[in-house]
């Protein structure tokens, strides 16, 4: 039961970190493509989604395992 509680807390704390990271990466991509070059809107939106998705995939496991370590260290 305690284990489940910890897992829940890990999930809640992690999402607050990795979601902004991935959304931020996507937005940065959108901004860069908007102000540099002459890219079609679809390419900019598509690129934003793809970069955001890959950033999510990269950041999720890193953030979750760090948060887990922090919480397990405390308990």
């Amino acid at each position: 039961m305690e284990h489940e509680q910890v897992e829940k807390e890990v999930a809640q704390r992690s999402v607050l970190i990795y979601l902004p990271i991935s959304i931020g990466s996507g937005l940065i991509f959108l901004l860069v493509t908007t102000f540099t070059g002459n890219y079609p809107l679809v390419a900019r939106i598509g690129g934003m989604v793809w970069v955001g998705l890959l950033s999510l995939i990269v950041s999720m496991p890193i953030v979750i395992s760090r948060v887990k370590k922090q919480l397990h260290g405390k308990s």
Binding site: A43, I57, M60, I64
Partner: protein
């Protein structure tokens, strides 16, 4: 508070790659009270230590399930007799007590067993439903537990595996092996089904996609099949059906912070499919339009990945054939005497001291000691001994061996997990589940690879989006091995394609499989020849050895003195005898000496008697006998006065041996002990006695030299004797006059010279030296392998098995290196190819589906390369094996002195 750790092996399903290994290890390590977690991909098992006070089995199962894998469990129904339904028992009756508490009793007894996850008793049906881990809990243990609390339990037919998929089981004798095989067969079936769906529909998708290139075949294909929306409709069931596993598995892992191969596949397939859907529904969206739908990429990528999984499931099972063969040796039933009646019961229900009956042709169920009957037993499957071994009252029999001719009864001395066969299986399984140092590195690389690949995919996407497309894109360029032009594909579509291809081609499956599959095949191959490696590390260390140190007595030599030379005095001839050839004269010298020594209890005298008997000489009792302590014996034989003893005795009695002294000295120079024989005060001959070399010592050392090893011998003998033996065997380095307790120190000295050293010796007496060496080989341990020290156990007393161990280890490591080389070469070449590094020069890019095929081929090639180990044969001859029971000693001409080490 002190921790009491228990060891546990969990069968894990759903692992496909090295990153899965690190995820399962990570999930289990995170649990409080769990340590020493080692997960092996090739055997799909997790070995760990845990503190039962701090962590429950349920927690471990949940932790594994949470990250998308499963622990194989099974369910079984027991009919429990003796429980009653009465709710209000008549007071004071024990039956009444039972009805109120029997549920608790039975459930409590079952739940206490190791490996039982849960048990639910249904009083109305009189059954207990047990969920357990196969291999950890056995049916017989459950029955015993129920019996111990006062009830009788009987197994109901058809247990089945609950997770990850339900598999029908057999009614009886279903064991861990069967369940593991069933699970694998189910996986093969499942992936086979997926392959048929993805393959068949994928072929139609391909036909539709390349409709324009079909030429005359167009007449057989309806034109509507080339419509993009039709191709899209056909691809959808492939992605959502067979391909769904990648999405669900990767999501399950991702939400627990783990990434695996499934994620690579899911992003690859998902991106190809998503872009194709957008281009079909919104061709003007700018993703390349109808010319870049890539439905066939999504369909074929799914098909190829599933093809890889299917082939891997097919071939992976074959690398564990050796252990399967060992497990199959265990007979399912045994015939025992119970209540003066013959009963056939499951083997795992045989108890200590049970009387077991064995008929001709039957397998022996458990280990025991014969007390009635006579037979010959084929033990080749366990000891490698090619000839059947005779068994009579007092002899030990080994479970799993086959009775050949006669019938006998024996008393069970070791049952269940204690039998020799169970110990050997456990040892091989543990070895297969362990990790070699080289594998730890490969697992670490593969485990961190996925994140790296996703980062690389971002970099590749950004590069081609911002720079590459503008600089190098050519609308006439195409995919490798495809006439399909990239045409009007836009910057996003092109960059996304290359990014997806990198994801797909980078799968480190081959890296993850390279080491464990070869280690598994190697340990199995060793077991086939009676060479048991205690771990993957033992194999790796053995392959790097430079020096092998042999203990002399009992390892290189037989450890007991034997007659090696008999020389008759040239002037001597037995009076009245018509025999005159020198052979017969030597025979007479030995015969008379043996008669004189018949009543002696001295080891040398015993050696002379055995030597004469082995030559077929008839030994009668002497007319009179007198022992001369410290010197020899004198006896009257057939009217002649025989004096037998050392040089000093002959000198004291005035017998002149000067004519034979040069022979005596030559024998002594070779480390032999010389006995002088005088008849009627005249010199009659010399008998040399020494510890004889084992039959194959010379052959084994020769082979070790061929393998480039330095061979040393360690002994308590004096330098001269030790060197004499070393010369005969071909030993390079002699470590003489070493006390038993100093052997480990000598090994340490060799190690200090920078050598990788193996020590070969008796597993019990030489334990410190075996432990000190990089590799300790315990030779001739028989089948009681659990007690042995050392990293390698050589079951037979055959020194050539040291050569077999070396060759198996070298062959295995060769395979590991080949596998790792090809796996890394694949990724090293594949990733730049997938990232479009060659596109600026060749105007060709790799399609995601071709990347998928390459990835599948790399995994399969690693497994197939490993399977080549199945044909491994050691260089030393196996056809003439010595008998294990040395009841009929032979004399050999190669000799060694009887040492005292």
């Amino acid at each position: 508070m002190t921790e009491t750790l228990s060891d546990l092996t969990l069968p894990i399903s759903g692992m496909t790659c090295a990153s899965c290994v690190s995820h399962v290890e990570g999930a289990l390590k995170e649990l409080p009270g769990v340590s020493n977690v080692v997960v092996n991909l090739a055997v799909n098992k997790a070995n760990l230590s845990y503190d039962p006070q701090r962590v429950k089995l349920d927690d471990m199962l949940a932790a594994v399930k949470d990250i998308g894998y499963a622990v194989l469990t099974a369910e079984l129904t027991l009919d429990v007799r003796g429980m009653t339904l009465r709710q209000t028992p008549p007071s004071g009756t024990s039956q009444g007590d039972a009805c109120a508490s029997c549920v608790d009793h039975v459930e409590g007894a079952l739940n206490e067993l190791d490996g039982v996850i849960a048990s639910v008793v249904d009083l109305g049906l009189g059954t207990a439903k047990v969920t357990y881990i196969p291999g950890l809990a056995t049916v017989s243990a459950m029955k015993r537990a129920v019996r111990e609390v006062g009830y009788e339990a009987q197994e109901r037919p058809a247990p089945f595996i609950l997770s990850p998929t339900k598999v029908r089981g057999r009614s009886e004798g279903t064991d861990a092996l069967d369940r593991e095989r069933q699970a694998r067969e189910e996986e093969i079936k499942r992936q086979g089904r997926n392959l048929v769906i993805a393959g068949a529909i994928g072929l139609i998708v391909m036909t539709g996609t390349f409709y324009d290139m079909l030429g005359t075949f167009k007449a057989f294909v309806p034109v509507w099949l080339s419509y993009k929306w039709v191709i899209g409709l056909l691809t959808t069931p492939i992605v959502l059906g067979p391909g769904r596993q990648f999405f669900s598995n990767s999501w399950r892992g991702l939400k627990h912070g783990v990434t695996d191969m499934n994620l690579l596949y899911a992003t690859g397939i998902g991106a190809a499919y998503g872009i194709a859907v957008i281009n079909t529904l919104f061709p003007k969206a700018g993703f390349g339009g109808e010319g870049a739908t890539f439905f066939e990429s999504a369909a074929l990528l799914t098909g190829f990945i599933i093809l890889g999984r299917w082939l891997e499931a097919l071939t992976r099972g074959r690398t564990s054939e050796a252990i399967r063969k060992l497990m199959k040796l265990q007979p399912k039933v045994a015939r025992v005497m119970r209540n003066d009646r013959e009963e056939e019961i499951p083997t795992d229900e045989v108890e200590l001291d049970d009387v077991v009956l064995v008929r001709p042709g039957e397998s022996i169920a458990v280990d025991g000691e014969v007390f009635e009957g006579y037979s010959a037993v084929d033990e080749s499957m366990l000891t490698g001994e090619s000839l059947p071994v005779e068994k009579k009252a007092g002899d030990a029999v080994i479970g799993g061996t086959i009775n050949k001719t006669g019938a006998f009864k024996f008393k069970a001395t070791r049952v269940g997990k204690e039998t020799a066969l169970a110990q050997i299986i456990k040892l091989v399984e543990d070895a297969q589940a362990s990790k070699a140092p080289i594998q730890k590195l490969a697992d670490w690389v593969a485990g961190h690879f996925i994140l790296g690949v996703h980062l690389l995919a971002v970099v590749v996407f950004l590069f081609w989006f911002f720079f590459g497309y503008q600089m190098f894109f050519d609308p006439n360029s195409s995919f490798i091995m495809s006439p399909y032009k990239l045409g009007e594909i836009g910057v996003f579509g092109f960059s996304l394609l290359l990014s997806v291809t990198v994801l797909v081609i980078s799968c480190p499956c081959a890296v993850g499989l390279a080491t464990p599959s070869a280690m598994m095949a190697g340990t199995g191959k060793g077991a086939e020849f009676g060479v048991l490696f205690k771990g993957a590390e033992a194999i790796e260390n053995t392959s790097k050895l430079q020096t092998i140190v042999f203990d002399k007595t009992g390892t290189l030599t037989k450890g007991e003195p034997s007659v090696t030379d008999v020389i008759a005095g040239c002037e001597w001839k037995m009076e009245g005898s018509r025999l005159s050839s020198s052979d017969l004269q030597t025979g007479n010298v030995l015969r008379l000496a043996a008669i004189a020594e018949k009543n002696s209890e001295h080891p040398l005298g015993d050696a002379i008697v055995r030597g004469a008997e082995a030559r077929g000489l008839q030994i009668v009792g002497p007319d009179s006998f007198n022992s001369i302590p410290g010197h020899g014996v004198e006896a009257k034989v057939e009217g002649a006065e025989i004096l037998l003893g050392n040089r000093k005795l002959m000198k004291e009695r005035g017998v002149d041996f000067s004519s034979m002294m040069s022979n005596a000295e030559a024998l002594e120079a070779n480390g032999k002990t010389v006995m002088f024989v005088a008849i009627d005060a005249k010199p009659a001959g010399l008998i040399a006695v020494a510890d004889t070399l084992k039959e194959y010592s010379v052959e084994a050392i020769k082979h070790l030299h061929k393998l480039g090893l330095e061979v040393a011998m360690i002994t308590g003998d004096n330098q001269r004797t030790a060197e004499a033996i070393a010369r005969q065997v071909g030993i390079d380095r002699v470590l003489a006059e070493v006390l038993p307790q100093d052997k480990a120190e000598e090994v340490k000295k060799l190690q200090a010279q920078g050598k990788k050293v193996a020590m070969v010796g008796d597993g019990v007496n030489d334990a410190p030296a075996l432990a000190q060496a990089e590799v300790g080989m315990a030779i001739g341990s028989g089948t009681d392998v659990a007690k042995e020290t050392g990293d390698i156990i050589l079951i037979k007393d055959d020194i050539r098995d040291v050569v077999v161990a070396m060759e198996v280890a070298k062959a295995t490591m060769r395979k590991v290196k080949q596998n790792l080389f090809w796996a890394f070469v694949y990724n090293t070449l594949g990733i730049p190819l997938g990232a479009g590094l060659f596109y600026p020069f060749a105007s060709l890019i790799l399609s995601p589906e071709l990347a998928g095929l390459m990835m599948a081929v790399s995994s399969i090639s690693v497994t197939l390369n490993t399977l080549l180990l199945k044909g491994f044969k050691p260089s030393v001859g196996r056809e003439h094996k010595p008998r294990q029971d040395s009841g009929n000693p032979q004399l050999h001409h190669a000799t060694a002195s009887a040492g005292d080490d």
